[in-house]
């Protein structure tokens, strides 16, 4: 069995705002969500910027009892899942045919606060729900519990490609007839002192801005977010009169099996080709690529080389932008958030810009939609995710 797969729900929260409408308007305006860190103490951080969610009040979404159980990563996932499922009558669907596949988001703020209390303040005990709040499958469980979904539910770990792999696997399950509705994507809330210090030690964080593909790019900027898609079989979605935002066409996955942190152009190119093969598309059918585009020297030049290898002369006519320059690198949530961005690009004919672009880099010869959003009617778009550990996932989406 190979069923067509429709994207029937979208939900998001990020530094660009709560909800798809806020994300869309930020994409159109080229508004940047990166700024000085204000939600945690910065005296021990050498890098002072991040893409924080500043207007989020958990108590407006959850009661006291729920909040005891929810790390911020689960809170963000639930807010986005509620938006994505809004208007879908779950009561009319068999609950065991509805599943959840999310990227595995460690409850970083819960663990960080716990260890700070334990080692810093010499607390003798930790809050009793530290384990179920911190576990990487917590957000997936919370979404299933919140909506009463009894189908397969789990979380997938592949570092910064986690939620892209989650969407890929969820789509395969819908395609294969294993699920009739999948809530997929991911969330991440890692802006805490311990984890930012860990990133700092890798020497890849930018201290001023995220400038993907620009010659003077200086590194990545961490963000927090959730990005959720709802996938359903095309025919069932049509039959129930669902709003279809886009079509999932295919995915390509693979491993560099090389360096732990340095990306491989061959590995990235293999994943892109695999996505095109899975979708049955020729390279010149692609009208837009949402790049992994972290803004590090190595990622961006390697990704450009991979795109050149796959698309050849077509690359001159192919816009490739990095929306991370707007919403930051949202790590475990990146693939989910960027799948929402890519879906909006298709649905709205609106390509998000690459912000912070100042000077072309001969190692990144791309049309990166510099600094200003662009109107373009496109039929097929790719979303790239290339993670530490050489774990690659590429999603192919088509206009509905």
């Amino acid at each position: 069995m190979r069923r067509r797969v429709a994207v029937t729900g979208l939900g998001t929260i990020s530094a660009l705002g709560t909800g798809v409408a806020a994300l869309r308007s930020a994409m159109a305006a080229g508004r940047c969500g990166i700024g000085p860190i204000s939600t945690i103490p910065t005296d021990r951080l050498t890098v002072p910027i991040a893409a924080e969610i500043l207007d989020f009040d958990p108590s407006a979404h959850f009661d006291r009892r729920q909040m005891l159980m929810l790390d911020r990563a689960s809170q963000l996932a639930l807010v986005a899942a509620r938006e994505a499922l809004d208007g879908i009558d779950l009561a009319a669907m068999p609950a065991e045919r509805c599943g959840v596949v999310l990227g595995a988001a460690i409850g970083q703020t819960t663990m960080d606060a716990g260890y700070l209390a334990l080692y810093g303040a010499e607390a003798t005990r930790l809050p009793p729900l530290t384990v179920p709040r911190g576990m990487p499958s917590a957000a997936a469980s919370q979404v299933a519990m919140s909506f009463g979904l009894h189908g397969p539910c789990f979380a997938i770990a592949s570092a910064c490609a986690s939620s892209a792999h989650a969407i890929a696997l969820a789509a395969q399950m819908v395609r294969a007839g294993q699920l009739d509705l999948a809530v997929c994507g991911g969330s991440d809330a890692s802006i805490c002192v311990g984890y930012l210090k860990a990133w700092d030690a890798l020497r890849v964080l930018s201290a001023d801005a995220c400038r993907p593909f620009s010659r003077d790019r200086s590194g990545l900027v961490i963000g927090e977010a959730a990005g959720i898609l709802v996938l359903e079989p095309w025919e069932l979605a049509r039959a129930r009169g669902a709003m279809i935002h886009a079509e999932f066409l295919g995915c390509g996955m693979g491993a560099d099996a090389g360096d732990l942190t340095a990306p491989s152009a061959e590995g990235a190119a293999r994943a892109i080709r695999a996505a095109l093969d899975d979708a049955g598309l020729a390279p010149d059918a692609v009208g837009y690529v949402n790049a992994h585009g972290t803004g590090t020297r190595l990622n961006d030049s390697t990704e450009a080389a991979a795109l050149r290898a796959v698309f050849g002369a077509h690359l001159a006519r192919l816009p490739v932008s990095s929306s991370k320059s707007l919403h930051g690198h949202c790590l475990n949530a990146a693939g989910g958030l960027e799948a929402v961005v890519t879906t909006l690009a298709l649905r709205e004919g609106l390509l998000p810009p690459t912000l912070g672009f100042r000077e072309a880099d001969p190692h990144c010869e791309l049309d990166c939609v510099p600094n200003v959003a662009r109107r373009a009617s496109i039929g097929v778009a790719l979303s790239n995710s290339f993670a530490f550990g050489g774990l690659n996932a590429v999603l192919a989406l088509g206009a509905a």
Binding site: L68, M69, T124, R125, P127, P128, L129
Partner: protein
């Protein structure tokens, strides 16, 4: 079982149980079972944490009964008082 509920420290314990679980204070009698009171294990965990915080003491897990330590309110209060006694000794 000695009448642990006559201990002067019991009032503070029962106040915390009532607050954390939402069960009426008057229903918290020694022979009442946690099941009968409808106190889920998650609420019991929070209650013990709040009591630990209030008395600044670590309440150890009852050896051999991990995950199902207390049947009645008497069991619960007795274990907490014994812990407080040990801490004061």
């Amino acid at each position: 079982m000695p009448d642990v509920f006559s201990d002067p420290r019991c009032a503070a314990i029962l106040d915390i149980v009532a607050t954390e679980t939402g069960v009426a204070r008057a229903a918290l009698v020694p022979e009442a079972t946690l099941d009968g009171l409808g106190i889920p294990s998650l609420d019991l965990i929070h209650t013990l944490f709040a009591i630990e915080t209030h008395f600044d003491v670590e309440i150890p897990t009852v050896i051999g009964r991990e995950g199902a330590e207390f049947v009645t309110m008497g069991d619960l209060v007795g274990h907490i008082l014994a812990t407080l006694d040990r801490a004061a000794a």
